[in-house]
Structures are given as C-alpha cells and as structure tokens.
Amino acid sequence: MNTRTQFLLLAFTAITLVAILRLVRSGKLKAKYSLLWITLGVAMLALAALPNIADRVAEKFGVYYQPALFFVIGIGFLLLVVIHFSYELSRMENRVRTLTEETTLIRHELASVRAELAVRPTDDGE
C-alpha cells in the first residue's frame, strides 16, 4: 500500500471515529447505535496504521488486490449496521402500533365517560 493512501485512510477513519464519539458524548447518538460504527472505525484504523497486518490478512484470505480487503470489511460492517436498523425499526413499529391502539381506546373511553357525565352531571353514581 502506498504511503499516501495509508495516510488518507488513517485521516479519514480517525475523523469519522472522532465525529461519532463526539455525537455519542453530546447525547445526539445513542451508544447502542454507535457500537458497530466504533468497531468498524477501530478495525480500519488498525489496518491502516499497521499495513503489514493488512498484508498478512489479505494473503491469508487469498485477496490479491489489497485495498479490496478494506472494501470487504467495510461492506460487511455496513450490512450488519443495516440489519441492526431493520431490527430496531421493527421494534419501533410494534411499539407505535401498541401506542396507537392505546390512544384509540383511551379516546373512546374518554368520549363515553364524557357522555355519561353530560347525562347526569350531579349524580355521583352510587
């Protein structure tokens, strides 16, 4: 790997990592969503900083074009992140549905209580 490529890669991953960590610290990104990003960042950082690791890994997996290793790892992690999102989205949908049911039932109950009160405003029901 070219030194310039290595430097670029290092800078890029470092900036991304710092940005994500800052988002988590300011509470704008929940930690659970950042875990996969941070793992990816650290892995990329390690590979970029120590190119012989990347070389050895690439050789071991039969990857001849070494930068392709970065693509493979990146795409793999992105896939994990997207699956994680789908999972969270399904959970959210379930919760929103339940809340919708709840509000509808409460509105119905409110209307019937109001109607009952309107019929006998002074009667306490005993």
């Binding site: 549905r97 049911e101 509000t103 509808t104 039932l105 509105r107 119905h108």
Partner: protein
C-alpha cells in the same frame, strides 16, 4: 368486598355468554349503514363495535349515527391492526366471545348463529367458509388460483383441512381473544396467518359452511401489486413460522390455573 360483589353482579346482568361483533371498516361509508341496520335488526342481542381503520370518508359519522360503538384509529393500520384493536377492546370490556363481520355486507347476519354454535362446543376459532357447499360466492380466476396455493400451504402447516383459509367471517372464544389481543398478524391476509398460528399453538380451529353474498359497496382489496406483495409476505411469514406446539395451549393454561 362490596366492590367485588358489584362487579360480579354487573357480569351477571350481562348475557352469560356476552358476545361482541367486531366490524373492521376502511372507507366503507357507502355500505356500512345498511350492513349495520340489517345486523342490528337480525341480532339485537349482540353488541357491535366498528373499528374505523383511519378512513378518509364519513365511515365514523355513519357508524356513530347507527348507534354502535366506534373505535377510530388515527391512521390506517391495515385489517390485522384494526382486528387486534377490536380484540383488545373485547378483552378489556370483558366480552367472552367475539365475531368478525365485514362492513361491506357480504356476510349474512342470519349465519351468525351457525358461526357461534361450535364455540359452545369448545371450539376456539370458527371460520365461516365461502366454498364448502352452501352459498354461491364467486372469485376471479387468478385470485382463485392464488387462494388455492395459499390454502394448500396453510393446510400443510396447520395440519388440518380447510376449504377457505382467508375468510373474514370468524368467531373467537375467550382464550383465543386474549391471545389475539396481544399477538395478532397485523397486515392484510391476516386471517391465513392467524389460522395457521392458532392451529400450531394447539387451539381448536373449526370450519363451518356459510352463505355469502356479493359485496354491496366499497372496494375489494384487490389491487394487483399490493395483493402480490402481501401474498409473498404471507408466504415468507408462513415459511418462517415456528414448529407446532406438542401439547394444546389450552390444556396447559388450565393445568396452570389449577
């Protein structure tokens, strides 16, 4: 103590087997009034709740005018979502049985007795079949083929024979209601999923032949692509469904109660 007795008295005042008719309705203002009028005339003994699934027409007003209970969802959840709300309502209001009835007038209120009868006999889910002899319900060719494929898959998974797996004319026992109130397939073609689920969970599912009519109004949910999407979705859901329970859930629940 007094309070408990009051509740018991209240339960006794209500019919021993209190039943609620759940009518899911999405943009059914046209057909709903006559459906409700006929239903209330034929079965004045039953309570009715219309679950408005975020209709953009006058469905809610029309239903309120008919003097039945109305639950109005703020947006469209899909037929299964509307039904789950209906089940929840039934359970919370203390009903012991429920019945699903279409808003578009294709179900005959005179057939309700046919549907409720097996519940007294211990059934948990009774399906009013359109194709088992009685009645003259017709469907298009491609729709018919799709329904047949779905039916054979559903029967295979359910381990039981059915002539109509997607009927929306169904009756539910108390235990079935309680289960469906928390756990019900929430989209279109819900009935097939629910059927397989109930069979696999060990509930007593039966089918009775019922007479059905042509729809009097509303639009059948038969827009091709949407139907195809839901069809494939159900195939995936059924394919992923868990293995059947060894022992009936009902027996287990009763044993736990003892």
């Amino acid at each position: 103590m007094r309070r408990v007795r009051a509740v018991e008295a209240h339960a006794r005042i209500r019919d021993v087997q209190s039943t609620v008719v759940i009518i899911p309705a999405f943009n059914e203002a046209q057909a709903l009034p006559s459906t409700l009028r006929e239903l209330c005339a034929v079965r004045p003994d039953l309570d009715v709740v219309v679950v408005d699934d975020g209709s953009r027409d006058t469905t809610v007003r029309v239903a309120r005018a008919a003097g039945v209970e109305v639950l109005s969802l703020p947006y469209n959840l899909g037929i299964g979502g509307a039904m789950r709300l209906g089940f929840r309502y039934a359970v919370e209001q203390g009903y012991e049985r429920a019945l699903q009835f279409d808003a578009d007038g294709q179900h005959d209120p005179n057939e309700i007795a046919t549907l409720l009868a097996p519940l007294d006999d211990g059934a948990d889910l009774v399906i009013g079949s359109r194709f088992s002899g009685r009645g003259d319900y017709k469907v298009g060719r491609s729709r018919g083929l799709a329904m047949r494929v779905l039916r054979s898959l559903a029967m295979r998974l359910a381990g039981q024979r059915f002539s109509d797996t997607s009927s929306g004319f169904r009756a539910f026992s108390g235990p079935m209601l309680e289960r469906f109130a928390v756990d019900y397939p929430i989209e279109y073609l819900d009935s097939v999923e629910a059927l397989v689920f109930a069979c696999r969970a060990g509930y007593d599912v039966r089918e009775v032949p019922t007479h059905m009519r042509e729809r009097t109004g509303g639009t059948a949910s038969n827009r091709r692509l949407r139907l195809l999407y839901h069809y494939i979705r159900v195939l995936v859901v059924l394919g992923c469904s868990p293995r059947p329970a060894r022992r009936p859930v009902r027996g287990a629940a009763e044993a736990a109660a003892r």
